[in-house]
């Protein structure tokens, strides 16, 4: 089968004579079968008609006259074309399919040919004396699965490409700035994708997401709730603030009172130490206590000495004096020191022991009784003196000894001036006024009123 057979006939056959006449434009018809060139191989004749004339460029308006040639070809013609095409395609398809098949059926052999052969040489020697002979020609049977004899895995170079078609349009014009601007395509950005990370204006963003399409309606109760919450919150804050202030004030007051009382007690104690005995008591005990006088005298002297030493020191070495003053100022003499309390032991260095266990030879058995017996808290933990003992020791140690009192000092109502001494003294003080009866009269008058 030659290649020429495989190719369909040129399409010009379809255009019959009268149609060809009716075309106003001359078609360049080149009916050329594929030709073979010794050097170039098969020359493909791809382009059968080429538009290359001026007439192919200008418009040919459709008028009524031309309608005939614009009609499609008849049914038979179409059928004919289709048949032809189908056959050609079938052929190609079959060849392709058979090539792809793994096992091929053995090709059918052509029927035997019989050839009547008359020899040109006549004679006894030739042709075994026969005038004619009949030759039977049979094809040699082929092995269907015989591998191909020739290597065909080489790439066959392509045929030359078809000649370039004539360009039938004007050269492209230079793009103007306006056109360039028209071709500026905005970057591809959406609500979901923004690969290059462009900044999208907020209004554009809102416009794109379709949120503005529905009018939003918020229930007014939301605002009411919010307002109410705010007001209650503020009120609560105010209340707590006032409460806190009140508490603070009360605490301050209490603290002040406590300090006052402490200070009073401390003052008293200091005075006692210093030997300044307040009016009435000192007066009452004046006679029967020479010892006291002596003590006071001693203390006074001591203080006097100190003052003179200070003065001398100040005169001779003011620097040292200042240092001393400074030191004294820095020195903390707290109320507790003034009260003569024992220094607080912040740290107990030794372990504490259960004293019940001391001086017993039996160990645990002696200290603790049986289960029901309760002897754990039957004694005070510490047998030291209570703090109250320190505070209310009274003015004199002898006082405690004599009364044999072990608890705090109990105040008793003083006897109602047994000697009338108090009254006398107050009258003596008041005697400074020159007219006692006038005073009396005034008193009486006040009573009357």
């Amino acid at each position: 089968m030659s290649l020429i057979n495989s190719l369909p006939k040129p399409t010009q056959d379809d255009v019959n004579e009268e149609e060809r006449k009716s075309f106003s434009a001359p078609i360049i018809l080149m009916v050329i079968a594929p030709s073979y060139d010794q050097k170039r191989g098969w020359i493909a004749q791809n382009q059968e008609n080429v538009c290359s004339k001026y007439k192919d460029l200008i418009t040919s308006e459709i008028t009524e006259d031309e309608d005939r040639c614009l009609q499609k070809p008849g049914e038979e013609k179409i059928q004919d074309t289709v048949e032809r095409t189908r056959k050609a395609l079938e052929r190609v398809t079959n060849s392709k399919i058979s090539a792809a098949m793994p096992v091929r059926a053995a090709p059918k052999q052509a029927p035997a040919q019989y050839i009547r052969y008359t020899s040109s040489q006549k004679g006894v020697v030739f042709n075994s004396e026969a005038e004619q002979r009949i030759i039977r020609m049979v094809e040699v049977q082929k092995d269907p699965i015989e591998p191909p004899k020739f290597k065909i895995n080489k790439k066959i170079p392509r045929g030359p490409p078809s000649p370039p078609a004539p360009v039938m349009h004007s050269p492209t014009r230079k793009v103007t700035v306006k056109e360039q601007n028209e071709w500026k395509i905005p970057p591809c950005v959406s609500n979901w994708k923004n690969a290059k990370g462009y900044a999208v204006p907020l209004d554009k963003r809102l416009a794109a997401d379709g949120r503005g399409l529905q009018p939003t309606h918020i229930n007014e109760n939301f605002s009411k709730v919010a307002e109410a919450l705010y007001i209650t919150y503020r009120k609560a804050r105010e209340e707590t603030e006032t409460r806190a202030q009140m508490k603070k004030k009360i605490a301050q007051k209490e603290k002040k009172e406590k300090e006052e009382s402490l200070r009073g007690i401390a003052q008293k104690a200091r005075e006692e130490r210093a030997g300044i005995i307040s009016g009435i008591t000192s007066l009452g005990n004046y006679d029967d206590n020479n010892d006291n006088v002596r003590k006071r005298e001693l203390l006074r002297r001591e203080r006097h000495n100190k003052r003179t030493r200070d003065r001398n020191l100040n005169r001779t070495n003011p620097e040292k004096m200042r240092n001393k003053l400074f030191k004294e100022r820095e020195r903390d003499i707290s109320e507790q020191m003034a009260l003569g309390l024992p220094a607080k032991r912040t740290m107990i260095s030794e372990g504490q022991y259960d004293q019940r266990l001391f001086n017993t030879s039996k160990g645990m058995n002696s200290g603790f009784g049986y289960d029901e017996f309760y002897n754990i808290y039957d004694e005070p933990w510490r047998k030291t003196k209570d703090m109250v003992d320190y505070i209310y020791t009274g003015p004199r140690g002898a006082f405690r000894k004599s009364s044999g009192r072990s608890g705090p000092l109990k105040f008793e109502r003083a006897e109602e001036d047994p000697f009338g001494l108090d009254q006398f003294l107050t009258q003596a003080k008041k005697a400074a006024t020159k007219r006692p009866y006038e005073e009396k009269f005034r008193e009486e008058k006040r009573k009357r009123d």
């Binding site: 255009v15 008609n49 200008i58 008028t63």
Partner: protein, 448 residues
């Protein structure tokens, strides 16, 4: 009464323009007719020409005339002689017409141009948006109508093919299987098959009785952008980014032909039963007409200046149209002769559609639809449907469209993820939507 009315003053430019217009209107009716001949001048011209060109044997004409005269006389004498064919002794073979009136034969030398009447465009009712079908999750890239006109299929960038009822617009079936966007669809007329191709290089054959893929046509080297079925032979033709069109045998899946020749992406392929059986439009700005039987290119049309994104056959006439951003062009079929240009759609035209009424629609990347009268190239309507809510204006774009089989509905596949259906406005009449048409004389002979 006697008062002289003021003449409204116009600028010289306006006056000149008006005068031009009036003149134009006066002569528009008989444009292209040749002015009447001045007989005296014509006679002088002919005599001069005869003397100049035929000087040496001009006298022969007179001789012939004389001869003829005598022969006429003879004929009058003898009516039995009917034939004139035997007088072959004359130097110039003379036919009957030329001998009859020599004056007219001289005149016939001038090519008498036919008076071309410019056809008026046919009135078409305007089209209006009729239905918007939303359901796809990506750009809708292709649409195909079933031959029975019951349903249509759309393929989208969300990798799904959806089948919709044409009458109601309801979704019937969603077909999944492609792994990239679906770019081409075709429904077979003779088998219950749907064919689809996509950017995943796959060409699939769906059996619509089972809604399953039954065949793959494997061979494209890159994305497949367009496909078509041959109306009479069981082959399908696909074209794509590998700048080839491939012809597949439907049943055996064999790649019958690989149509190579384009130098860039082939954007559109169409086929018909007559020659040329395949036409492709490509991004290399050319259109190729292919001989299907031989699998080679017959004609290359290089008239377009920009990439051709769509080619479409006229349903009745032996013509086809092609669209590129510079112009829409019409061609005559067997040999691809250029017919005319349709200018005015200044956008990237993605798709074309023609119905049997002769309404050509072009849909562009910016969402505009232009409706044209095929015969005259008159643009009778321009449309731009709004995008569906939630999409941006830039998402208006028409990727594919087709008329239904009756030609009364136009289905468009759009970038706003919807399918829109248009129909003719039945209330419109010729009075409400008149044809405003001016023959474009300037551009009538426009080239390219």
């Amino acid at each position: 009464m006697t008062e002289v009315q003021d003449v409204q003053k116009h600028s010289v430019h306006t006056l000149v323009f008006r005068s031009l217009k009036r003149t134009h209107d006066m002569f528009v009716s008989d444009q292209r007719t040749i002015p009447a001949l001045d007989e005296v001048a014509e006679k002088v011209k002919m005599r001069t020409k005869a003397k100049d060109m035929y000087g040496p044997f001009v006298h022969k004409v007179d001789e012939l005339k004389a001869l003829q005269r005598t022969r006429d006389l003879e004929r009058l004498d003898d009516d039995s002689i009917q034939e004139n064919g035997h007088e072959s002794n004359a130097l110039v073979p003379v036919t009957e017409e030329s001998t009859a009136t020599p004056q007219s034969s001289a005149l016939s030398v001038i090519p008498q141009r036919k008076v071309v009447t410019i056809p008026k465009p046919k009135w078409h009712p305007p089209w209006k948006l009729f239905r918007v079908i939303s359901g796809h999750l990506g750009w809708v890239r292709c649409v195909a109508v079933e031959p029975g006109n019951e349903w249509f299929a759309t393929g989208s960038a969300d990798r799904v093919i959806k089948i919709w009822e044409l009458a109601s617009g309801k979704l019937k079936v969603s077909l999944t299987g492609h792994v990239s966007s679906v770019r081409g669809l075709a429904v077979s007329e003779r088998q219950p098959y749907l064919f689809s191709c996509g950017e995943d290089r796959q060409v699939k054959c769906w059996d619509l009785e089972y809604n399953k893929v039954i065949r793959h046509y494997h061979g494209h080297l890159s994305a497949v952008y367009s496909m078509t079925l041959h109306p009479a032979i069981d082959v399908l033709i696909t074209a794509g980014r590998d700048s080839t069109a491939r012809v597949w045998d439907m049943r055996t899946k064999a790649n019958v032909h690989t149509l190579t020749g384009h130098t860039n992406t082939v954007a559109s392929v169409i086929s018909q039963a007559t020659e040329p059986q395949i036409i492709t439009g490509s991004h290399d700005c050319t259109i190729r007409l292919w001989d299907l039987a031989a699998g080679r290119s017959m004609v290359t049309l290089t008239h377009h200046k920009k990439s051709v994104r769509s080619v479409v056959f006229h349903p009745n006439l032996y013509m086809f149209g092609s669209a590129s951003p510079d112009a829409i062009k019409q061609w005559r079929c067997p040999e691809g002769k250029f017919v005319q240009n349709l200018f005015g759609h200044n956008a990237i035209i993605n798709c074309l559609a023609i119905n049997s009424d002769g309404v050509l629609v072009s849909g562009a990347d910016n969402g505009t639809l232009h409706f044209w009268d095929w015969r005259t190239g008159y643009n009778f309507q321009r449309l731009q449907a709004p995008v569906q809510p939630g999409s941006m204006d830039s998402e208006a774009g028409i990727f594919a469209m087709t008329y239904d089989k009756s030609g009364s509905r136009l289905i468009t596949a759009e970038a706003d993820k919807t399918v829109k259906i248009y129909k003719e406005d039945v209330t419109a009449t010729e009075e409400t939507h008149p044809v405003i048409w001016k023959p474009d004389l300037l551009h009538s002979t426009r080239r390219y």
